[in-house]
Structure formats: structure tokens, C-alpha cells
Symmetry: C2
Subunit: 166 residues, 2 copies
């Protein structure tokens, strides 16, 4: 899976190459401090032939006529040897996460080792992310401990691979 005209995958991303492509779908979010919400999402997992996978996503509110952007984030998956990886991600809300985790088959489990925030951002203490791909369907969840609340489910989404492009 190299994308059109793209370079071949670096051998170090072979284990996580099941992520590659452009994905679209939807999700639900909730947290004790906010109202529950539904969203539409597009996400891209790409590579340039180097030993990392780039990642970016955007969401907008579901069931609205006028597009209403919600979240965005951008980061990178860094395989670190058999069955292990790191993940770094930046968010426009001023939150940066560093994770370490594991890859088993087509499932990824990530747990934050550090969450840092810009001076005016909300406080986030802990994040866990899981991603599972079965054929062209990606299901993910995100657990978060933030703004004084205990670690708990925040997001759950399901995306379909719409292209294998980089």
C-alpha cells in the first residue's frame, strides 16, 4: 500500500501500514463538563517513505446545514521496534500529547506519557487512545482525564477508508 506514485513504505512502518489512507465517518463525544455531541470526521494517515506515519484529522458537527468545524489535530506515529510505537499530536486547543503504545495485529493501544498544554489551554492530565482496523473500517476510542474529572471515555468513532492515497 504505497499510494499513487508514492514511495514504498519504509520497512519500520510495515506493522502500522494498515492505518494508511484517507478515512471518513462519524463519532460521538461526551464528557461531564460538556453536552454530548455527534460529529463527522475526515482523517488522513500518510507516509513519505520515512519511518513514520503522518496523521491529521478534522471534525465538524453532525446534522447541521451550515458546516460547523469542531476539532482538529495533527501528529505522527513513530514505530519503535517490534510491536511498539510512539505517537505525538498537536491540537489547536493548545494541547500536545506524547504517547507510547503497542501494535498487535491491526489494533493499536496508546497511553499518554506526557500531556502538555499552552498557557491559555484547558488542563488535560491523561489520554488513552485505541484504534482498531478491520478491512476498511477503523474504530477508535479516546479516554481522557481533564479539567479535574477522572479518566473516562470522551470520544468514540467509526471511519471508512475512502482512498489509499498518501
Amino acid at each position: 500500500m504505497t499510494g499513487n506514485d508514492g514511495p514504498p513504505c519504509h520497512p519500520e512502518i510495515a506493522e502500522t501500514a494498515f492505518l494508511l489512507g484517507q478515512w471518513q465517518g462519524s463519532g460521538v463525544g461526551d464528557y461531564p463538563t460538556i453536552e454530548g455531541f455527534e460529529y463527522l470526521e475526515t482523517a488522513t494517515f500518510g507516509h513519505v517513505g520515512k519511518p513514520f506515519i503522518s496523521y491529521g484529522q478534522k471534525t465538524r458537527r453532525a446534522n447541521t446545514e451550515t458546516p460547523e468545524p469542531l476539532h482538529a489535530e495533527a501528529g505522527y506515529f513513530r514505530p519503535t521496534g517490534s510491536g511498539t510505537l510512539e505517537f505525538v499530536v498537536a491540537q489547536p486547543s493548545g494541547i500536545l500529547e506524547i504517547h507510547t503504545g503497542t501494535v498487535a495485529g491491526t489494533s493499536i493501544r496508546l497511553r499518554s506519557v506526557s500531556v502538555v498544554t499552552s498557557p491559555t489551554a484547558k488542563e488535560v492530565a491523561t489520554v488513552e487512545r485505541s484504534i482498531e482496523v478491520i478491512d476498511d473500517v477503523m474504530r477508535y476510542s479516546l479516554f481522557m482525564g481533564a479539567v479535574g474529572e477522572p479518566h473516562q471515555i470522551h470520544l468514540r468513532g467509526e471511519l471508512r477508508r475512502v482512498s489509499e492515497g498518501r
Copy 2:
């Protein structure tokens, strides 16, 4: 400057809207621990109508026949009130930077308040970034204190705006 068919800029990004667009150009990099190098760069500064500017760039080595990707990074500019802003950015090298800074005219000065790295990344202690736009030309520099070396120039680049798209 709203991009084709895009939403209008959020009022809070008006001061930094001079960044918006797609940019291409070149730069030079150097550091005591590496050989000097020249690179070609593409960068995109976009918005979705919310009070932040998304940022992504990729570089590849200059003067090679086969494309050789070098660096990439992705992040967000967060205006925080008159003449001030935050900047967060993630890099595939496992480095995350949080900056605060100032906007004066079409010049931005950023200084890291926190640089955090994933467990297997190289150590980076301090980063300063400056960006200046004059008409459709962007000049930037990046100073860095890393891997035990004192804070010093690392990158200097010059880009031209090739489109105003988001």
C-alpha cells in the same frame, strides 16, 4: 483573505491572517552536530473560520534527482489577544514545542515555553522561531538549543506565496 469558498476569517486571526496561503521555497540548515544542508519546502497556513491557524510543512533535500524527504511538522497558531499568540507544533522526530510570542505588523516572534520529547527522541531544550512576511515573501528563522549545544541558528528559509487557499 478567505480562500476559495471558505468561511470568513474569525476576527481573532485577523492580526495573523498575513500567514494564510500555500508557500514554496527553500532554506538552509546547520548545527554543530550535523553537516550543513539545503532544502526545498512547501508550507500551508490555513483556517476553518475558528480562532486558530493550522500549519503544516514538509521539506526535501535540494539538488537531488530522486526526492528525498527531510523534515515535516504540523501545528497551530493560537492568537491570545492584541499582539500576542501561542504556537504548538508536533514533529515526526518525536519533538513537541509550545511557544508564546508576539505579532507586530507582519512579523511574528516565538519563544518556546516548553519543549517535550517522546522517549526515543533527541533532546531539545530551547527553540525560537521568527517569521516575517513582506507581500508574498515569507522569511523565517529557527534557533535551537539541543543535544547539549548552546542555543543557536539552525534553519533559515525563504518562501513565496503560491496560492491563498486554505
